[in-house]
Subunit: 383 residues, 2 copies
C-alpha cells in the first residue's frame, strides 16, 4: 500500500512510519518539526529526542533495506501537500500533523491562534488534496477521546441515536472538550464530516486516549530509532510523566482530586489500531469513528500503580496532590465504548505491573538527563 | 450603551448601526469591505449598493445629529480589533463580520479557505480581545439556523437534553450543516462555548434564519441610507431573489422539489432581536442561544406567494423548477422552537402579502439595473 504519514517526526508518526515500511508498504513522511520548535521555545525538550528524519530513515534503511521517503515541509502550505500527494499517489493518508499539546494551546493568544490555524488548515488541506488528486484515498485522522469530554451518559463510538419527543435521529456524538487543542479536534471532525457528505471522501477518525510507552517492535532494533519521549508539562502525557517523576525521585503530582478518568493505550497498540484501520478502508462517503483505547484508569489509580512498582524497584516514590491547573471535572461518570477496533482484531497490551517495570527500567538509563524544572505545570487554564 | 458592530457595512450591520445610534447609543462600526470585494470578483454586485461607510455616516449625522464612528480594518488582524476595543471600550460587541455566502464557500479551494480562516479567526480575535480588554462585554454573535441542518427531531434553542440508557445530560444541540459557510458557524459556536466555560465570557449566539427586506425605520429617512440589497446567486437570500425575479420578468427558480423548509425573518426583526439581546446581557460564563426567526415556509410556498402577489400587480410571474445545485434534503421534517426572543419582547413583522407587495414596489424602481446573468446558480455543491 502507498501510505503518507503527516507529522512523521512525532511520537506516533515515526513509529507508524517504521511499522508500515517494515511490512513492505511504500511510506512517505512529511513534517515541519513544529513540535521540536515549540519544545525549544517552551524549554520542554524531550528526555529521548530522536535525530532528524533523514538520519533515522538512513539508519532504518541500513537495518531493514526499506526506504522511507521523507519530506520537510509545512502542511499549512497547500502546495507542499499537493506536490507530495501528486508524487506519492497515496492510498492511505495518516494524519497526525497537528499541534498536540493541550497546555501549549492554553498558554496565550499566539499559542492558541497557532494551534487553531495549524490544526484546522492542515486538515482542510488534506481534505482538498484528496478530493482533487486522489479521491479514493482513505484518510485516517487522529482525533482524541478528549473531544467527548466527560459526559454523564455513556460515550458511544462517534454517533448517538437520540430519541426526542417521540421522534428519532442519529447525530455525531455531542462533544465538549477541556482545552483549545481538544476543541480544534472537534472542529476537525465537523469539517471532515461536512466534506465526507459533500465530496464522498473516505475517512476514519480515531478518537485516541492518552498514549504511553517508549518503544515499539521496530525501535528495538536500534536505539537511534526510538521515538521522542516527553515527560514535560507541555508534551508529556500523564503516564510518561509519572514514570519520569518516579525515576527522578520527585513526588508524582496528581492535579486536584485525581478522580479524572481517561482511556489509555500503549504506543504499540496505536500502531496496531492505525494498521487495522488502514487495512479496512471505509466506503466513499463514509465517516467511521473508532474509540482508540484499551482500558480506563483514574489519575490516582495510575499514580498508585507507578508508585507501587517503583517502590518495588527501590525508587522510594511519593504521590502528592497539587492544585489543578486545568479546568476539568475531578470526579465524574466515564463509560466509553470501544469495541470497534477490537472487532477489527486489536490485541491489547494492557498496563500491567510488568509493563510499568519495563518502562521504569528503560527510563532509569536516562535518569541523569531529567530536568525536573520541566515537570510541574507552567500553564494555568485560567490564563 | 457603548456598542461595536463588526461587519458594519453589511446588509445587517449597517441597519444595526443606525438603529442603535438613533436611539442614543455610542456606536462604532468596523468593516474591511470584504463582501464588496467578493461581489466584484464574482460579478455579484448588489441591486442597491450603499455608499462606503464615511459617506453614509455623514448623511446619517446630517439627518440625526448622531455620530457613528467608522473604522476600515480587517478583523483578521488582531491589532485592528484590540486597538478599536481599547479605544471604544464596548459594553456590547455585535459580531456580523463573517463571509456570509454559502455558494461562495462552495466555489473552490481559495473561497473555502478564505471562509474558514476569516470566520474562525475573527471570532477567535473577538474572544481574546474581550477576555484581555473588556471581560464584562457582552458578545452578540450572529450564528445561523443552518447550523442545525434539517434533523428529524424538533430543533430546540441551542441545547438538547439527552436521555441515553437511563442516564441524562444536556449538550449543545447536535449540528450538521449544508455548506462550508454554515459549517464555519458550527465551529464558531464550539469555539465560543469552549472559551465561555474557560474564561467566563458573556455570549449570546443568535441562530438566524434567512432575512428578507429592503428597508428599516432609519433607511426610510433617506435613500442614501439603504443597506445593500443582493439578489444574485452568491449573496442573495431566497426571498430577495424571488422578488427580483418577479420584477425582472423571469421565472422564480425553485431548486429541486421545493420542500426545503426554513425559518425566515424580516430585516426589521433582525434589528429588534439584536436590540433585545443587547438590552438583556447574559451573566459571565453563560452562552445563551436563541433561534432567530418568526415563521417557517417551504421554498415552494415562498415562490407561490411572490407569484400570487406579483401577478396581482400585473407582473406575469412564472415559477420554474431547476436541478438543485446544493446537496440538501428537499422534503424533510422541520420544527424549530423560537420562543426565546418572543419572551424577550420580539414583535414579529410577518411576511404578509402586503409586505411582499411593498417590497416588489420598491424593487420596481430599480428594474432597469437588474442583471439577470447574476441570478441562476453558478456554483454547484458537487464541485
Amino acid at each position: 500500500m502507498r501510505i503518507m504519514i503527516l507529522g512523521g517526526d512525532g511520537y506516533l508518526g515515526w513509529p507508524t512510519a517504521m511499522h508500515f515500511a517494515r511490512r513492505g508498504h511504500d511510506v512517505a513522511v512529511i513534517d515541519n518539526y513544529l513540535r521540536r520548535r515549540i519544545a525549544r521555545e517552551t524549554d520542554s525538550q524531550a528526555l529521548i529526542e530522536a535525530n532528524d528524519l533523514p538520519q533515522r530513515c538512513s539508519v532504518f534503511y541500513q537495518l531493514t533495506g526499506r526506504e522511507i521517503t521523507h519530506i520537510e515541509g509545512d502542511l499549512n502550505d497547500p502546495s507542499v501537500l499537493y506536490e507530495a500527494v501528486r508524487a506519492h499517489q497515496p492510498e492511505s493518508i495518516i494524519h497526525y500533523a497537528e499541534q498536540p499539546s493541550a497546555p501549549y494551546s492554553m498558554r496565550g493568544f499566539d499559542e492558541a491562534r497557532l494551534t487553531l490555524n495549524n490544526n484546522l488548515n492542515v486538515t482542510f488541506n488534506v481534505i482538498w488534496a484528496v478530493k482533487d488528486l486522489v479521491p479514493d484515498c482513505h484518510i485516517i485522522k487522529l482525533g482524541t477521546m478528549g473531544e467527548y469530554g466527560t459526559p454523564n451518559i455513556d460515550i458511544e463510538e462517534g454517533w448517538l441515536e437520540v430519541e426526542h419527543k417521540g421522534r428519532r435521529d442519529t447525530f455525531l456524538y455531542p462533544r465538549q472538550a477541556g482545552s483549545l487543542y481538544h476543541t480544534t479536534k472537534i472542529l476537525d471532525t465537523d469539517l471532515l464530516w461536512f466534506y465526507v457528505r459533500t465530496y464522498g471522501l473516505r475517512v476514519t477518525d480515531l478518537m485516541q486516549g492518552p498514549v504511553y510507552g517508549l518503544s515499539t517492535e521496530e525501535s528495538e532494533m536500534d536505539e537511534r530509532l526510538l521515538p521522542n519521549f516527553h515527560y514535560d508539562d507541555i508534551f508529556g502525557t500523564v503516564v510518561n510523566r509519572f514514570l519520569v517523576q518516579a525515576v527522578a525521585g520527585i513526588p508524582l503530582t496528581i492535579y486536584g482530586k485525581g478522580g479524572q478518568t481517561r482511556g489509555y493505550l500503549n504506543l504499540r497498540d496505536t500502531l496496531q489500531c492505525v494498521d487495522l484501520a488502514a487495512r479496512s478502508p471505509v466506503e466513499r462517503g463514509d465517516l467511521r469513528i473508532l474509540n482508540q483505547l484499551t482500558e480506563t484508569f483514574t489519575v490516582k489509580e495510575l499514580a498508585d500503580q507507578v508508585a507501587r512498582v517503583g517502590n518495588r524497584l527501590g525508587l522510594e516514590v511519593e504521590v502528592q496532590t497539587i492544585p489543578n491547573p486545568r479546568q476539568e471535572a475531578e470526579e465524574h461518570y466515564y463509560n466509553p465504548k470501544y469495541s470497534g477496533l477490537l472487532d477489527l482484531g486489536l490485541q491489547p497490551h494492557y498496563l500491567t505491573d510488568a509493563v510499568v517495570e519495563d518502562m521504569l527500567t528503560r527510563i532509569l538509563r536516562y535518569r541523569a538527563c531529567i530536568d525536573t524544572n520541566r515537570i510541574m505545570p507552567r500553564v494555568k487554564w485560567s490564563g
